[in-house]
Structures are given as structure tokens and as C-alpha cells.
Amino acid sequence: MSQEAHSVTGIDSRKLLMWIFLASDCLFFGALISTYLIFKDNIPNPPYPTDRIVNGEFFHGLLNIPLTSVSTFVLLMSSVAMVLAVYGAQNNNLKMMKGWLLSTIVLGIAFLLFQVYEFRHFLHEGLGLSTNQFGASFYLMTGFHGVHVGIGVIILISLLFGSFRRNSLGSDTGFHIETAGLYWHFVDIVWIVIFTLVYLMPY
């Protein structure tokens, strides 16, 4: 858009828009994570996130740290791939860009599959959305994050397809990849926060 190119600060308006949107997104996750943390010590009935003994009875915690560490690692690696894709785009290396974009997408989808597995496992263990506050706030928070990853995957796939239509890199393609990269890294960082606060933080 002709108007979008104009910029007092030298930062492209579209990138600025992404940055500010991410600031807003922080508060979405902030509210969701707070809800989880507020409830985690006051869950009225099992299943619980971590091992606990209630009235002399032992309950197994549901959260599986080793498994989630793996999926977290997968998502982190997708960020590395994203960095390389942006690097390729900026250096006019179309092949490199496409290859790493594809890797990012595959890793993103792998992360989502881990999440699907985790949700199904929890359901199987008797944790539904309405079972207790752990279920409600956990599914809402991680589900919302999963939707973010999903949207990211869709954006990256569209960019990948878009890049097949040309044989050289327009300046705009590189720009779009970079902006999508911002989003992707943000979603990763949010996951690190969730992983730390929800999975790793001891009681």
C-alpha cells in the first residue's frame, strides 16, 4: 500500500504494527497465565497438575516434564530454523529460505502434535475442560497458545507457497518473512514462559 511505505521513523509501518500487536498479545497471555497461577493451589478435586497428598491420599500429577521438555525443544529449534529462513531471505538466497521455512513449518506442526497428544492423554486421565480449575485454566491457556502456533503455521505455509510463484526474491518477500519471524519468535517466548511457570515451577 502506498501509504504504508511512508515512515517517519524509518521502521516499516507493518513491522511496527506487528510489534505493537505483540505487546497487546502479551496481556492476553498475562491474563491467562495469571488465571492458571491463581487457581493452581486451590484446585478442589483431582486430577492435579503435580503429585500431591490430599487427606492422606496420594494423587499422581498429570504434567509430564520430560515429554514437554522435548516438545519445548522442538519449538525452540523451530525458532532457530526461522532465524535461518530470515537470514536466507535477507541474503537473497531463495533456496536457503525455502528450506528453512519448510523446517520451521514441520517443527511447528510437530509441536502441535505433541500438544494434541498431551491433551488426549490428559482427557484419558480424567481431566476434562470442566473437571476442575486446573482443567479449565490449563486447556484455555495452552489451547490459546496452540491456536497461535497454528496461525503461525498457516502464515508460514502461505509465505512458502507465495515464494514458489516467483523465481527471485522481491524485497517484500524478505520483509514478510522477517515480520512473520517476529510473530513466530514471540509465540516461542510465550511458550518458554508457560513452560517455566506451569511445568517447571515447583510447589
Binding site: M1, S2, Q3, E4, H6, S7, V8, T9, I11, S13, L16, L17, I20, F21, A23, S24, D25, L27, F28, G30, A31, L32, T35, I38, F39, N42, I43, P44, N45, L129, S130, N132, Q133, G135, A136, S137, L140, S158
Partner: protein, 599 residues
């Protein structure tokens, strides 16, 4: 596909309904916001008149308790989200690009999207009346009243879905205007040369960007509680009703500044023009605005003093609330000092601005009173609070908006609003407003609770209630006078000069009304009051005749996307399959949007 507009092409070549549905022009979008805002304002006002008629005498019989609950809830929701906010949006859509010397906003299509999404949300929320399912638990919708066990029908789903849509609309608009203000300023328009109005909008946009997500999550949780049997806020299931209060007020207090800051911006433009001197203490006003934004996020629990927060939080929130009175007071003194020693012209616009200062100050003072927890414990849920909110919202926000109407009408439409009618309008509003709301202080202190649908004779509340109702009819008459002035202006030939008030800001540098591309030549700014600087230094804007200006072409994708969101919202109220259709529509619209050529 870019329309190449030679300077001779005027905008009358693109009128007609389709041009409004597909417009991406910030001025037309501003007008759309204005028209819808005024209509919703009138509807919300009608609800208030019903309330006042019921309460005019003891033991009112015209309205049942149920309908009464719906009336006060919808009155507040419509006034806040569908009346005052959109009227504010009308001004910032119109003015921000003009004031910073830009041809449009950073993202014209996103701008259209925010309007249509706002309208979708507004229609969804108000349509609840048609089904007899209007929300009825107060605009802040305290849990557990919002839970399925207490509100069986769809009312609270209307509330959640409607406000989520409205939140999406406001967020998009705010993102757009933050980027516009950062990136689209004309050469020489540095941060500290920006008009105060633009600064206030910058602050408002940030407040919305950072507070709406919190409300949205709360609304999603209400929706889940009601439809998927979760227990976020339901105490019998281990949920926490106070969590909702926190989420709501973390949004809710910044929201009250969202309502007032545009009007503070308007007043800061009107007063200097009619006092013929620059705003007093420009930097102080700007920094006061910024500190209000920061402090505004640190005071929300003053709405929750009576929930038993404990002494420490109460003291902290009481102190921060009193502290926010300081920047507010700074502004009031700045406005007074702007008037001081000026050669004041008492135009209608200026009267409304001066009225603003007086009335807003009263509301600010009562605000600081209930910043004190022991005092608030007496005042909470009484008419004293109702008096406070209306002094700041009617005397403040609405007076500012009307000041803006009378001030910028000639710029927007090339026609003046009649000054004689304007003064009648002003005095009816000023007297009516004080008659309606001042007695509510007395009623509150006498212990009359808010949100009761009738009261007994022997409580000593009769007289002031009657006075308040009479005042409210005066307000209605004032509104009719305003509409008549609008109609009269509409019937006259455009005759407004470019800068009829001899005002200092850039929007007055272009024609009245401005051409589609706003400025034939992008102005160069040398001073905080650019037009006065040019006037005093005999600088004449150079005239260029054959420039080709690229304006973005119209697009129907924003409208389509909003319809998708609306269908999604309707799905939330009926069956999720419909939501799915809405999502598909959204995807289709985004697809078309992205591929649509814009240059």
C-alpha cells in the same frame, strides 16, 4: 489499481451507498463512526429517560423490576461502548491524519475493518433487546450473577460476544492509530509539536491496546463458564468471583480514561483558539496525560474497596487513586491559565469547553472523595457514585464531544452549526445536567442505593428524584435542539472558509471540507502552532498544481471480514456450526484482502 487523482477531481464523484460500504477514507469512516455513535447515544439516552420517568415519583409503576435491570445495564453499556467511544473515534478518525499532516492513516483498510466490526458488535449487543434477553446484571457484570445458575437465558452470552467484537474493533483501531501517529507525521511535525489532541489519542490507543486483552480473556471465561461448564467465577464449583472483578477493572479503570481523554484533547484545542493564545504549559499537559496512562493501570482496585482486600492493598490503591488526581488537577489549572488574560470569544464550542472544566472538576473532586476506603464504604453502590460518574462522563466526556461538534463542523462539512441554536443547546445541557445529577449527591448521602427500581414515600428522597427527572427531560430537549441545528446546517449551502476561527492547527490549513487526499501539498511544520506561526511570519504555503496523488482504492473486504466476525459472534449465541461458517468467511476475506492489489 491506484486511483490517480488529479487535483480537480472532487469527492462527489464517489458518493452513493456502495462508496460508503467500501470506503477506506479516514474522513468518511469518521463520519460513519459519528453517525452510529450519535444514534446509539440517542437510544441509550431514551433508556435513561425511561429510568428517570420510573423514578420521578415514589413507587413508580411504569416499568417492572426485570425491565428496569435491563434498562440500566444496557444504558451504561450503550453509552460507554456504543455512544461515547465511537463519537470519540469519529473525532480521532477525522482529525489525527489532518492534524499531523498526513493523507490517511497507516492502514486504511484496517481502519474500515475497525468501523464495521464495531458496528457488528454494537448491533449484536443491542439486538438482545429484540429477544427480550438484554443483559441485566449491571455493566460490570459481577459474578456469580453472570453464571448459568443465575442468568438462564442468553443475556450474558450477548454481553460476552458483543463486547468481544467491540474489543476487537477497538484494538484494531488503536493499533492503526498508534502506528499512524508514530510514522505518518508531516515534515517538521516532531513529537512535541503534535497537538494535545493527538497526544491524548496516542495515550488512549495504548490504554486500549494494553487493557482490552484482559477484559477479553474475562469474557471468554464467562462464556466458558456458561457454555462449557467450567467454574472460573462460580464459587460453588471452586471458582473465584473476585477474579472477574479484577479482570474487569484492570480494563475498566483505563477505560474511563479512554472515555475522557479524547474530550480533554478537544478542550485543549478549543480553548487556545478562542482565547487567542497558545495552550498554557503544553509539556505539563502532555506529561500529565502520559502519567494518567501509567497510573491508570495502578488504581483498578478502588472499585473493590468493599470486597475486603485487606488493609495494605486498600491503602496502596487509595494512595494511587489520590495520586492520579494530581495530573488531572494539573490539566485543569493549565486550561484555566490558557483562558487567563486571553481575549475570549464565547462561541458555543468554547462554552462547552468551559462547561467541561467546571463540571469535570466537580466529578474529579467526588472521585477523590471515594478514593478514601472508609468514605467509599459509605458511598459505594449509592447515588453518590452515580453522581460522580455522570459529572465526569456527561459533564466531562460528552461536553467535550459537543464542543468538538460545534468547533469542527465547518471543517468536516463546510457548514456551521447555528450559533443561536448552539447556545440554547448548551444552556439546556448545562442546566439540565446539573439539575439531573447534582441532587444525586444528596440522594447518595441520604442512603439511596443505585440500581433500585422504586422506593417508598417516607424515605425523604421524593423531591430530589423529581428534580433529577425534570433535569433529564431538559437534556432530551437540548438534544433535540442539537439535532435541529444539524438538520439546519445540512440544508444550507457550504460556506465555511478554510480557517473560520483563526485556529492554529494543521486541519485548518486545507479546504472545508477537505479534499479526499486531505492536503494538496503536504505541509511543512515549523512550530507547535503551525498556522499562527505562518500567519505571524508571513509564510504562505506554496501552491503546486499538477501533482499526482495516490490514494488507496476502495475495498469491500473489510466489510466482508466484519460480517464473518458477526456471523462468528451469532454462532457463539446459537450453535458453533454457524461460528464455523463465520470463520470460513473470515479466512476468505483475509485471503482476498492480502491478494488485493493496492498500488
Amino acid at each position: 489499481m491506484t486511483a490517480v487523482l488529479p487535483l480537480t477531481v472532487k469527492e462527489n464523484s464517489n458518493s452513493g451507498i456502495w462508496s460508503w460500504l467500501t470506503t477506506v477514507d479516514h474522513k468518511k469512516i469518521g463520519t460513519l463512526y459519528g453517525i452510529s455513535g450519535v444514534i446509539f447515544f440517542i437510544l441509550a439516552g431514551a433508556e435513561a429517560l425511561l429510568i428517570r420517568t420510573q423514578l420521578a415519583a415514589p413507587n413508580g409503576t411504569i416499568i417492572s423490576a426485570n425491565v428496569y435491570n435491563q434498562l440500566f445495564t444496557m444504558h451504561a453499556l450503550m453509552m460507554i461502548f456504543l455512544g461515547v467511544m465511537p463519537m470519540g473515534a469519529a473525532f480521532f478518525n477525522w482529525l489525527v491524519p489532518l492534524m499531523i499532516g498526513a493523507r490517511d492513516v497507516a492502514f486504511p483498510r484496517l481502519n474500515a475493518l475497525s468501523f464495521w466490526t464495531f458496528l457488528s458488535g454494537g448491533l449484536l449487543l443491542t439486538s438482545s433487546w429484540l429477544f427480550g434477553e438484554a443483559p441485566d446484571v449491571g455493566w460490570f457484570a459481577y459474578a456469580p450473577l453472570t453464571e448459568k445458575a443465575y442468568t438462564i437465558g442468553k443475556a450474558m452470552d450477548f454481553y460476552a460476544a458483543g463486547l468481544i467484537l467491540l474489543g476487537v474493533a477497538s484494538t484494531i483501531a488503536s493499533l492503526n492509530f498508534v502506528v499512524t501517529i508514530i510514522n505518518m507525521r508531516a515534515p517538521g511535525m516532531t513529537w512535541f509539536r503534535m497537538p494535545v489532541f493527538v497526544w491524548m489519542i496516542f495515550v488512549v490507543a495504548w490504554l486500549l491496546i494494553l487493557s482490552l486483552p484482559v477484559l477479553t480473556i474475562g469474557l471468554v471465561q464467562i462464556y466458558f463458564d456458561r457454555n462449557f461448564a467450567t467454574n472460573f467465577f462460580n464459587p460453588t464449583g471452586g471458582g473465584d468471583p473476585l477474579l472477574w472483578q479484577h479482570l474487569f477493572w484492570i480494563f475498566g479503570h483505563p477505560e474511563v480514561y479512554v472515555l475522557i481523554l479524547p474530550s480533554m484533547g478537544i478542550v485543549s484545542e478549543v480553548l487556545p483558539t478562542f482565547a487567542k493564545k497558545p495552550i498554557f504549559g503544553y509539556s505539563a499537559i502532555v506529561f500529565a496525560g502520559l502519567s494518567i496512562a501509567v497510573l491508570g493501570f495502578a488504581v483498578w482496585s478502588h472499585h473493590m474497596f468493599t470486597t475486603g482486600l485487606g488493609p495494605v492493598p486498600s491503602i496502596v490503591f487509595s494512595a494511587s487513586t489520590m495520586a492520579i488526581g494530581v495530573p488531572t488537577g494539573v490539566k485543569i489549572f493549565n486550561w484555566l491559565a490558557t483562558l487567563w488574560g486571553g481575549s475570549i470569544r464565547f462561541t458555543t464550542a468554547n462554552l462547552f469547553s468551559i462547561g467541561f472544566i467546571a463540571l469535570f472538576t466537580i466529578g474529579g473532586i467526588s472521585g477523590v472523595m471515594h478514593a478514601s476506603p472508609p468514605i467509599d464504604t459509605q458511598q459505594q453502590d449509592t447515588y453518590f457514585i452515580v453522581a460522580h460518574i455522570h459529572y465526569v462522563l456527561f459533564g466531562g466526556a460528552v461536553f467535550g464531544i459537543f464542543s468538538g461538534f460545534y468547533y469542527w463542523w465547518p471543517k468536516f462539512f463546510g457548514r456551521f452549526l447555528d450559533e443561536k441554536l448552539g447556545k440554547i443547546n448548551f444552556w439546556l445541557f448545562f442546566i439540565g445536567m446539573n439539575l439531573t445529577f447534582f441532587p444525586m449527591h444528596f440522594l447518595g448521602v441520604q442512603g439511596m442505593p443505585r440500581r433500585i427500581y422504586r422506593y417508598d414515600t417516607d424515605l425523604g428522597w421524593d423531591m430530589w428524584n423529581q428534580v433529577a427527572s425534570i433535569g433529564s427531560y431538559m437534556l432530551a430537549v437540548g438534544m433535540i435542539v442539537f439535532l435541529y441545528a444539524v438538520w439546519k446546517a445540512y440544508k444550507t449551502e457550504p460556506n465555511a472558509p478554510d480557517n473560520p476561527w483563526d485556529a492554529p492547527t494543521l486541519e485548518w490549513a486545507t479546504s472545508s471540507p477537505p479534499p479526499e487526499h486531505d492536503f494538496d501539498v503536504i505541509p511543512v511544520v515549523h512550530d507547535r502552532d503551525p498556522l499562527w506561526y505562518n500567519r505571524d511570519n508571513n509564510i504562505v504555503q506554496e501552491q503546486v498544481t499538477d501533482e499526482h496523488i495516490h490514494m488507496p482504492p476502495p475495498s469491500y473486504y473489510p466489510l466482508l471480514l466484519s460480517i464473518g466476525l458477526l456471523v462468528g459472534g451469532i454462532g457463539l449465541l446459537t450453535t458453533l456450526i454457524i461460528s464455523f461458517v463465520g470463520v470460513l468467511l473470515v479466512f476468505y476475506a483475509i485471503w482476498g484482502w492480502v491478494l488485493e492489489p493496492t498500488s
